[in-house]
């Protein structure tokens, strides 16, 4: 792999992708591929052991990320990437588990799992690509759709309030919360590298265009126009109170690292409790391979 990384004729992220699955299904101008590029660069930068890395997705456009990365990857059911990832992490604590999914998957159908995994502080790295709608199914309103945006199910404009995801996950207990847009590819890669150093529930929201369904219906131009829009509207606000970073249809997009704190993760707390209560009778939580595979 090192030779590839030094070879300027080869895209450095290619070794992290299942090239035999290309072309991918994402539309021209979609931001999901951009986030995968930043993810792959974070893997290079953080020098993380790829064998230890598992990636879990739910359903939707971002749910397809699992199929394109050359890692142990799980494309699960709609909304359930986080509980699947929880089981994976608990059964094999040595794994680094990344959950990579969309805003509808993680915050609507999977919203309950999102807050409970944050509450428990399960050691998961969650990358939430937020395109502000349900894209795979044709552009319906999501819990993240800003008020007054036009969607296929709110053709006269949305009127229900949207979730402010950084605020939600901070309140629920996440130890790391950041937001970037697909314009901020280097900052995003840096945040992803950082969460590999964190223990506990980390959440990175990436605001990403859906030119086919969101930008078109809301007359916001194509993918390139959206990059200019993100550049113009984004304001880096590291450490900003998450209560103040909610998104509006045309307003400022607060980006940056909002939360970076430490508290014991689920497995540390579990082990401490068992050691305190059971002493030497506690046999640990690691499953012996011989017990399963003979």
């Amino acid at each position: 792999m090192l030779n590839v990384l030094n070879d300027e004729t080869v895209n450095p992220v290619e070794p992290f992708l299942r090239s035999d699955r290309m072309p991918h299904i994402w539309c021209p101008g979609c931001g999901i591929g951009t986030t995968v590029n930043s993810f792959a660069r974070a893997l290079i930068d953080s020098k993380i052991d790829l064998e230890s890395l598992a990636l879990v997705s739910g359903i939707g456009c971002t749910g397809r990320v699992a199929g394109y990365v050359k890692l142990d990857s799980f494309h699960t059911t709609h909304g359930r990437a986080i509980p699947f990832a929880t089981g994976l992490k608990l059964a094999n604590p040595k794994l680094n588990v990344v959950v990579y999914s969309g805003d509808g998957d993680l915050s609507a159908i999977g919203g309950n799992h999102l807050i409970h995994a944050a509450r428990r502080n399960i050691d998961l790295k969650v990358i939430c690509v937020n395109n502000l709608i349900y894209a795979m199914t044709g552009g319906q309103t999501a819990p993240t759709t800003p008020g007054h945006a036009t969607t296929s199910t709110n053709p006269y404009g949305t009127f229900e309030p949207a979730f402010n995801l950084p605020h939600l996950v901070e309140a629920a207990g996440a130890v790391y919360v950041a937001r970037w847009t697909t314009f901020h590819v280097r900052q995003l890669a840096r945040s992803i590298s950082e969460v590999f150093q964190k223990k506990g529930f980390s959440f990175i929201e990436v605001i990403s265009p859906c030119p086919t369904l969101y930008q078109r219906r809301n007359k916001m131009g194509d993918g390139l126009d959206t990059m200019k829009y993100y550049k113009e509207k984004s304001k880096v606000k590291n450490g900003a109170p998450t209560s103040e970073v909610g998104l509006t249809l045309n307003g400022e997009i607060a980006v940056g690292k909002f939360v970076d704190r430490d508290r014991p993760d689920y497995q540390s707390m579990m082990r401490a409790q068992y050691v305190e209560s059971l002493g030497d009778r506690y046999l640990g939580d690691e499953v012996e391979t011989e017990c399963v595979c003979g």
Binding site: L71, D72, G87, L88, L90, A91
Partner: protein, 386 residues
């Protein structure tokens, strides 16, 4: 292979079916469970939560049954043997993930301690009304295996069997208890670990280069790898090819879905367990399962006291349905009597398998208690006259 002695509580115990089921899971090698509380199943994971830290592994109580039923599958792909337990309303919520386990060929066990339904129904009282749901509850075509214990001892023995079948066929196995069997306390003998046969995971020995996650070599059950071993495999609930890659063609769908069916159907003779008595000269055969089989025994004994030629066929495996056995018996009996704690579920399978060669009489009960044995006796008497 033999059971890991850490998980085996060898000895003679006086415990209920729920606790015996937990001990069976531990003896089978289950080291991970994810659950959500629901009567009358919760005692199983309560015991598991107390026992597993001393055996090596963990239990997590999830936020709902949707989470529990997929967390356990994460645990399996992480390298553990895993299960969840529930009852009617929770079983309904788990259906999508039973389909996911069938499609991704994730070996695991779903325990359903059946209670009266529909909806919230009778939380503390028995039924056997989830039998069709166990078979058909998730969307699409797939096969599962379902076992029905009728005593705490069988809750122990057959839970081990359930895990073994799950591993052998890489299929979700439904362990269909009922409230009475779950809460009935009886003697349970747990043998020494070296007397308990445990089926190991069908883990691949292939090199990373040669490994095809869903490739098969004729026996229809692919070899498995775990996350973190370097195979970099892909698992999806989408229709997939042998590489595990999504493939949306009718050809791939046909090949995959037929294999998922055939791996179970072709082995049905081996999977189908039943207990039979006096079938040779029987005019009437009582087909029953779970707690109802014990009530039926009294009806059968009373009928024999009256000189009626009655046989007994107890289904230990409900799914795949032992249709070959029913067809064989149907050829030389007049009728079947099928008591169930539902308004007629498995009786229709008996009729289908009998194919007109013998009648099938339902003795239905809506749940909330067990049959009066006289109802079963009366049905036997009536069937004998036909």
């Amino acid at each position: 292979m033999k059971a890991d002695p850490h998980g085996v509580l060898t000895g003679t115990h006086f415990i209920d079916g729920d606790h015996a089921c937990c001990e069976g899971a531990l003896a089978a090698g289950a080291r991970f469970a994810a659950g959500y509380p629901i009567t009358p199943s919760t005692e199983i994971v309560e015991r598991f939560a107390a026992r597993v830290p001393t055996v090596g592994g963990c239990f997590i109580q999830m936020e709902d049954e949707l989470a529990a039923s997929i967390a356990l599958q994460g645990g399996v792909w992480g390298g553990a043997k895993a299960f969840t337990v529930t009852s009617g309303p929770g079983f309904s919520l788990m259906m999508e993930h039973i389909g996911y386990a069938a499609m991704t060929e994730t070996p695991c066990v779903f325990v359903d301690v059946q209670r009266g339904g529909p909806s919230t129904g009778l939380p503390t009282l028995p039924a056997q009304a989830d039998m069709m749901q166990a078979r058909w509850g998730s969307h699409g075509d797939y096969e599962i295996i379902a076992l029905c214990p009728n005593s705490p001892q069988e809750c122990f023995d057959l839970t081990i069997k359930a895990f073994n079948l799950a591993e052998e066929f890489r299929v979700p196995v439904m362990f269909m208890m009922d409230e009475v069997v779950g809460h009935m306390t009886e003697k349970v003998v747990i043998p020494p670990a070296d007397e308990i046969e445990v089926v190991p995971r069908k883990h691949t020995h292939k090199s990373i280069e040669d490994y095809l996650p869903y490739g098969t070599n004729g026996d229809l059950v692919p070899e498995m790898a775990h996350a973190g071993e370097g195979y970099k495999f892909h698992v999806t609930g989408l229709t997939h090819d042998e590489r595990g890659y999504p493939n949306m063609t009718p050809q791939t769908q046909d090949k995959l879905v037929r294999r998922l069916q055939n791996k179970i159907r072709n082995a049905a003779d081996r999977i189908c367990l039943f207990e039979e008595e006096r079938l040779d000269d029987a005019d009437v055969v009582v087909v029953s399962y779970g707690i109802t089989s014990r009530v039926a025994q009294r009806g059968i004994d009373a009928a024999r006291d009256r000189g009626l030629k009655v046989g007994k066929l107890r289904l230990i495996t409900a799914w795949p349905f032992p249709e070959k056995k029913i067809a064989e018996v149907a050829a030389h009996v007049k009728a079947f009597v099928v008591p169930e704690l539902n308004l007629g579920q498995m009786v229709n399978e008996v009729k289908r398998a009998a194919d007109g060669k013998a009648r099938a009489y339902a003795v239905s009960h809506a749940g909330g208690g067990v049959h009066n044995p006289d109802e079963i006796l009366n049905a036997i008497v009536e069937a004998s006259r036909c």
